[in-house]
């Protein structure tokens, strides 16, 4: 009885929040310390960089108030380090709440930051970045320096966003971090759900479950529909290799493999982010910290 109750209260949409420090890199005697703070609609990320190398980063859920979320995420990034806010030469705020980052010297759009961050994580061969965030999806084209050449965005509709995935994790009672792998446990890929609207797709999914479809199959059909939507956005902006995926859904193998299948290209393999901090979910904050470094250096030249 207690067990059931516990299960009912489980928040399947809740993903892990974490802080990583890479202590091998000592910050002492170094001088250029910058940070990027990416306050997204669902997740807040902070990346601390020393001379353009990742030293510490955090991923946590955004609260109802952007300045508080920025302070919390930055505070956590400094925890366990000897750094203080005063040590930072330059901080760039980005993301949905970028204008409300109190410690930032400048706000830069997440589109520029994701392109820059992807260029840093995967190298100069990246030309197309698909950023799947909590409440929007962006297809970004960039040059070999990580500068944006064009982009397209959908921020009006939950279809294909991380938020939509959370809704399905809750509906099917599958933890969000497992839904990708779960959606691949099928013998044959079912046709995608016909509704793109997440509210309608929920109703359609309940109908399919009633028809006797397994949760895996329903999730596969939904994931496929969302991947088709993301693929369309990439095709509209124009796909040029190499393609990479950033944002929370970069960790959803069900989405990544289906996008590769739909677009007929392989994404560049994700670096070993647990070891080196090159985390695709933090690409925006990493890009912001790099742009902060560039802005500081530029200001010193004048």
């Amino acid at each position: 009885m207690k067990e059931t109750l516990k299960n009912e209260n489980t928040e399947y949409w809740r993903w892990q929040e974490y802080h990583k420090i890479f202590p091998a890199k000592s910050w002492k005697n170094k001088n250029l310390i910058t940070a990027g703070v990416d306050v997204g609609s669902v997740g807040s990320k902070a990346a601390v960089m020393i001379d353009g190398e990742i030293y510490s980063y955090v991923i946590m859920r955004t609260g109802s108030n952007s300045p508080d979320s920025a302070k919390k995420v930055m505070g956590w990034a400094l925890e366990g380090t000897e750094l203080k806010l005063d040590d930072f030469k330059y901080i760039v705020g980005t993301g949905y709440g970028r204008v409300n980052v109190p410690m930032a010297n400048k706000a830069i759009t997440e589109i520029a930051c994701h392109a820059k961050g992807a260029n840093y994580i995967w190298g100069p061969s990246v030309r197309t970045v698909l950023d799947v965030g909590g409440q929007d999806i962006k297809a970004i084209r960039c040059d070999e320096t990580g500068r944006v050449t064009s982009f397209l965005m959908n921020d009006k509709c939950a279809a294909g966003t991380g938020r939509g995935m959370e809704v399905f994790a809750d509906l099917l009672k599958v933890p969000i971090e497992e839904i990708g792998e779960f959606s691949l446990r099928i013998d044959e890929e079912p046709p995608p759900v016909s509704c793109t609207c997440v509210a309608f797709a929920k109703t359609e999914a309940m109908g399919l479950l009633r028809k006797g479809w397994s949760k895996e199959k329903v999730l596969a059909a939904y994931t496929r529909a969302m991947a088709v939507r993301m693929g369309n956005l990439v095709n509209r902006v124009g796909l040029e290799k190499e393609l990479v995926i950033t944002g929370g859904q970069s960790k959803n193998i069900g989405i990544v493999s289906r996008i590769e299948n739909i677009l007929g290209v392989k994404c560049l393999p994700t670096p070993n982010w647990r070891e080196n901090g090159l985390d695709p979910m933090v690409a925006g904050a990493i890009g912001a910290a790099l742009l902060a470094k560039a802005l500081y250096e530029k200001s010193q030249k004048i």
Binding site: S64, K156, C197, A199, F200, R210
Partner: protein, 261 residues
């Protein structure tokens, strides 16, 4: 002459029975997961009220998204066609009919005979339909039927960025956390929905009189918001949710007339 119209909607099935062009009874049942059964139930209810049996009905026309699930119907009519017929029958001066159901919103432009000229439809996104109000009422923890009256108490609308049911749910939660008042949040929800619906009407061109039908027409909060956005009065019939079924029953009656000629 007895005719019947069945409107198999996504949320409920509505039936109207006409005798010589006048409504003699109605029936309604929730579609659930078995709309065909619901249709039989709604037809049964309407026949019982009219003290008739199916054999007494001269012609049945079906409409609505589930119109194929009533095999006993003699004919079908598009939802837009049914809206136009019903709108002009209810209000002879009507030239624009807006029909908002649970999962779909339509704006139909028609002539004085109730013949459809043009239409715009939103069926891909829940943000312009009744589902949106239902989801927002749940997020606000307010009963659906209380949403409208509540919104009328607001002096202004809270800023809300709801273009999507899913995002709207989290928007509402954060507005509650910011201690915005419920009436103002409710008004913002209706305003956001009326924005979408009025933009459909603007695409057709505003041709008065504008008639609003469908279940959402019963919501005083939405009606107030739509009037504000359109800048003109909006006419609402009694029993607006039966407009589609009425249009279908009128279509059945004209089929009989055609056959008699």
């Amino acid at each position: 002459v007895i005719t019947a119209g069945i409107d198999l909607g996504t949320q409920s099935v509505k039936v109207v029975i006409l005798k010589d062009g006048g409504v003699i009874s109605r029936g309604q049942a929730f579609s659930g997961f078995e709309p065909a059964k619901a249709a039989e139930q709604a037809v049964g209810e309407a026949l019982k009220k009219a003290k008739l049996t199916l054999t007494n009905v001269n012609h049945i026309t079906a409409t609505g998204s589930g119109m194929d699930m009533a095999p006993y119907a003699n004919s079908t009519i598009s939802m837009m066609g049914a809206d136009a017929k019903a709108g002009v029958c209810l209000f002879p001066k009507a030239r624009t009919i807006v029909d908002i159901g649970a999962e779909e919103a339509r704006a139909v432009k028609c002539d004085e005979k109730g013949v459809m000229i043009d239409f715009v439809v939103n069926e891909r996104c829940a943000a312009g339909a009744g589902t949106f109000i239902e989801a927002m009422a749940r997020a606000l923890e307010v009963k659906l039927e209380e949403m409208g009256p509540l919104s009328l108490k607001a002096e202004r609308a809270s800023p809300i960025n709801a273009t999507c049911v899913i995002f709207g749910e989290s928007d509402v939660v954060s507005l509650i956390h910011r201690q915005e008042s419920k009436p103002e949040i409710a008004r913002a929800i209706f305003d956001a929905m009326a924005d979408r619906v009025s933009s459909m009407v603007f695409r057709l061109g505003v041709n008065p009189d504008v008639v609003l039908v469908g279940g959402v027409a019963k919501d005083v909060g939405f009606v107030a918001s739509l009037k504000r956005k359109l800048g003109i009065d909006v006419l609402i019939p009694e029993n607006p949710e039966f407009a589609g079924a009425l249009g279908a029953a009128l279509n059945a009656a004209s089929r009989i007339r055609e056959m008699q000629q």
